[in-house]
């Protein structure tokens, strides 16, 4: 590329921005999801570019909304982080059985190395488990191109397609040359097709065999789909890789012959067989689970994998070099950086100082406030998944002897409460522990951890236009919680402690809503007003 090249057709985009732009250019009319690092910017960018983007209360609802749009012929994208697909797994599995005239593209943004997640699950397994074709881009250009391809494949086979990306694809900026012209949008219309979309057993039995037939066709098609590329090199070493790992591989082993897979379910088995035959030594290098190596070996193809130690964390150029050298010596520990902490002036600080001083047993949840586990607070005892604060707290209350049970408090943020806490509150009213229970909702009016996104409790939509505002206090009362308190902050530590002590001693079911806007959101809004 010459330095004189006009930058007009050349953009520097993150993978997330590239997916958003491709969605717009590919005629996607609805993008929906729930914020989650590293996926969040896809919908924000889609909205900023003029697309219709919505935050759903959680990923399950998002996927259902996208499915509904695709059932009537529209192109829809549902975005989520890897653990979000756990929440959306129910519609995901059965959507694969259905006959979808539009396009349903599901973006799963995985987080190998846990940059900002509670686990490093490998969602390539979901493609196999649900029978959903999966594409894996290796940079922003492919994130753009494969989003187009996912739309095309979804419409051709009338089934969902999984676009699986990882942190380093989502948040790395690389150069993209977008297409000149967007493709036409289909005109949505309803056509009755109960056999294709009402999954009663009689229909689903037929749908399951139809799904397997489609996957067989796709397995044949992918061999010559143009999604896979062989990068020539010496025949002494061949490497099979996909995603960002393919870029690490080219740098770590510039002499090697590389088979870069763009679609990793179903796999192009014939192409892999021929590639392996063409080299003396063949290594499948992948982040996370040994998915490629197991799938390839299951076809009777001999391929070398990585040592078990490389299942953990992200790969990079140095680790790929080590894998190729079969080096299993301990890796040097990188020097420790400074851990993140709750902002100075964040009202969550007072909440956790109080819970620490009261020696509460705190079942926590996912958000900024998970930082309550670190010094100087060390006031969190569990954190598992979105909404688990309430269920886990109730379980402890049921099982612990009363004097300990009375110390249990469930702490959950506002966005997380909407996502998965409401059903926990229903459970609390339905199966109350004999000692009662206390749920503390830290309501800072935003999804702070992922970068200040709106949700049904903020009164604003993704595009910041006004929306109906869910009242947590009214909701709690309607569920049957009689003892509902709304306080500022907590600002006053003495008053807050007194309230918490009263609630814990009462033996009742209590919900305490500590409400004060996130200081980062206040600053952001002020900046936006000035602009």
């Amino acid at each position: 590329m010459s330095p004189q090249d006009a930058t007009e057709d050349r953009l520097l985009l993150s993978g997330n921005e590239a997916i958003a732009r491709a969605a717009l250019d590919a005629g996607v009319t609805l993008g929906t999801g729930y914020p989650g690092t590293p996926s969040t910017e896809i919908l924000e960018t889609f909205s900023a570019l003029g697309g219709r983007a919505q935050w759903a209360p959680n990923e399950k609802v998002a996927l259902e909304v996208a499915l509904g749009a695709a059932f009537v012929g529209a192109r829809a994208v549902a975005t989520m982080k890897h653990v979000g697909l756990n929440v959306a797994a129910d519609p995901f599995f059965t959507a694969a059985y259905t006959d979808i005239p539009g396009a349903l593209v599901v973006v799963s943004a995985d987080d190998p190395g846990l940059a900002s997640s509670q686990n490093e699950q490998d969602n390539r397994r979901y493609a196999v488990a649900a029978g959903v074709p999966m594409l894996e881009p290796s940079d922003s250009q492919e994130a753009y191109d494969f989003t187009f391809e996912a739309v095309r494949m979804a419409e051709k086979w009338r089934m969902p397609v999984l676009l699986r990306v990882t942190t380093r694809i989502c948040h790395s900026k690389t150069i993209v040359r977008p297409r000149k012209a967007p493709i036409d949008k289909p005109e949505p219309r309803f056509e009755r097709d109960a056999r294709g979309r009402v999954m009663i057993p009689a229909h689903a039995r037929i749908a399951h065999s139809r799904l397997r037939r489609k996957l067989g066709e796709i397995a044949d098609w992918t061999e010559n789909s143009g999604l896979h590329r062989t990068l020539d090199g010496e025949s002494s070493l061949g490497i099979v890789a996909s995603g960002v790992v393919a870029a690490h591989v080219r740098e770590a082993a510039p002499q090697a012959r590389v088979l870069k897979l763009g679609q990793t379910y179903p796999l192009p088995i014939q192409a892999i067989r021929e590639f392996v035959r063409s080299v003396d030594r063949c290594v499948a290098i992948e982040e996370g689970d040994p998915y490629l190596v197991e799938s390839i070996r299951a076809e009777g193809i001999a391929v070398e994998g990585k040592a078990a130690m490389y299942r953990f964390g992200e790969l990079n150029v140095s680790r790929v070099r080590r894998i190729l050298a079969r080096d299993e010596s301990p890796e040097p520990e990188p020097p420790k950086g400074k851990p993140p902490e709750l902002c100075k002036g964040c009202p969550h600080r007072t909440a956790f100082e109080t819970l620490r001083d009261m020696d509460c047993i705190v079942t926590g949840d996912i958000g900024c406030y998970t930082l309550g586990v670190l010094p100087p607070f060390q006031a969190m005892d569990t954190c598992v998944c979105m909404g688990a604060a309430i269920g886990v707290g109730l379980g402890m209350r049921h099982a612990l002897p009363p004097e300990q049970a009375r110390r249990v408090v469930s702490v959950i943020g506002d966005s997380t409460f909407v996502h998965s806490g409401i059903t926990g509150l229903v459970e609390m009213a339905y199966n109350p522990p004999s000692t009662g229970h206390v749920v503390l909702i830290l309501d800072n009016g935003t999804t702070a951890m992922t970068g200040l996104q709106d949700h049904p409790g903020t009164g604003r939509r993704l595009d910041r236009e006004p929306a109906d505002k869910l009242s947590f206090e009214d909701l709690a009362r309607s569920i049957g919680i009689q003892d509902v308190h709304v306080i500022d902050g907590p600002g006053d530590p003495v008053a807050f402690r007194r309230l918490m002590e009263e609630c814990l001693a009462s033996g009742k079911l209590s919900v305490v809503i500590a409400r004060r806007p996130c200081i980062l959101a206040v600053a952001r809004d002020k900046k936006m007003e000035q602009a």
Binding site: M1, K173, A247, E251
Partner: protein
């Protein structure tokens, strides 16, 4: 440096210091000069005061978006206590640009340190064989303007100039 080899820059500091902003500006400058460029970082915790780094690699062709450990040509660090945790990223003979290079009192705001150090970096980059003559001060200034709010353009352009002067003095001594 061999022709065609990419130049690797790592920017490090604490959340809120403008680490990502600095790497955005650098990436934009080299992008508009026609280089291949890849930029990589971890979001999420970046606004919560913890350690943050961002990698920018540019040249004729860049492969991995991440700078391999011990291979950075330049390490730009925005907080003195973040030098040691990041030093291992720098290659032997690589250049460390640290806060002490800039006279803090000369900056209109401590928040301008990221752009001041970019000013310093711009002087060093001009000495790179593959870069010389391709990154103009004007291009840097345009990238600063397009990445920052109009209200703070002047103070950041000033910070950039302060960084350039500091680097010119330092490199004259070398």
């Amino acid at each position: 440096m061999t022709a065609g080899r990419a130049i690797d820059v790592v920017v490090g500091g604490l959340g809120g210091q403008g680490v990502l902003k600095a790497s955005d500006i650098l990436a934009e400058v080299v992008f508009s000069a026609g280089f291949d460029v890849k930029k990589s970082e971890i979001h999420g915790m970046s606004q919560r005061g913890g350690s943050v780094t961002s990698d920018v690699r540019f040249g004729q062709e860049v492969l991995s978006p991440m700078v391999p450990e011990g291979e950075a040509d330049y390490l730009v660090v925005l907080a003195a206590d973040q030098i040691e945790p990041n030093r291992h990223l720098l290659r032997e003979g690589g250049t460390l640009l640290e806060p002490s290079l800039i006279d803090a009192a000369s900056l209109a705001s401590p928040r301008g340190l990221n752009v001041a150090l970019l000013g310093a970096l711009s002087v060093w980059l001009e000495k790179e064989e593959n870069v010389a003559g391709r990154l103009s001060v004007e291009a840097w200034e345009n990238a600063i303007r397009s990445n920052l709010a109009p209200k703070i353009h002047d103070q950041n352009l000033e910070a950039f100039a302060i960084g350039r002067r500091a680097a010119a003095e330092r490199t004259a001594q070398e």
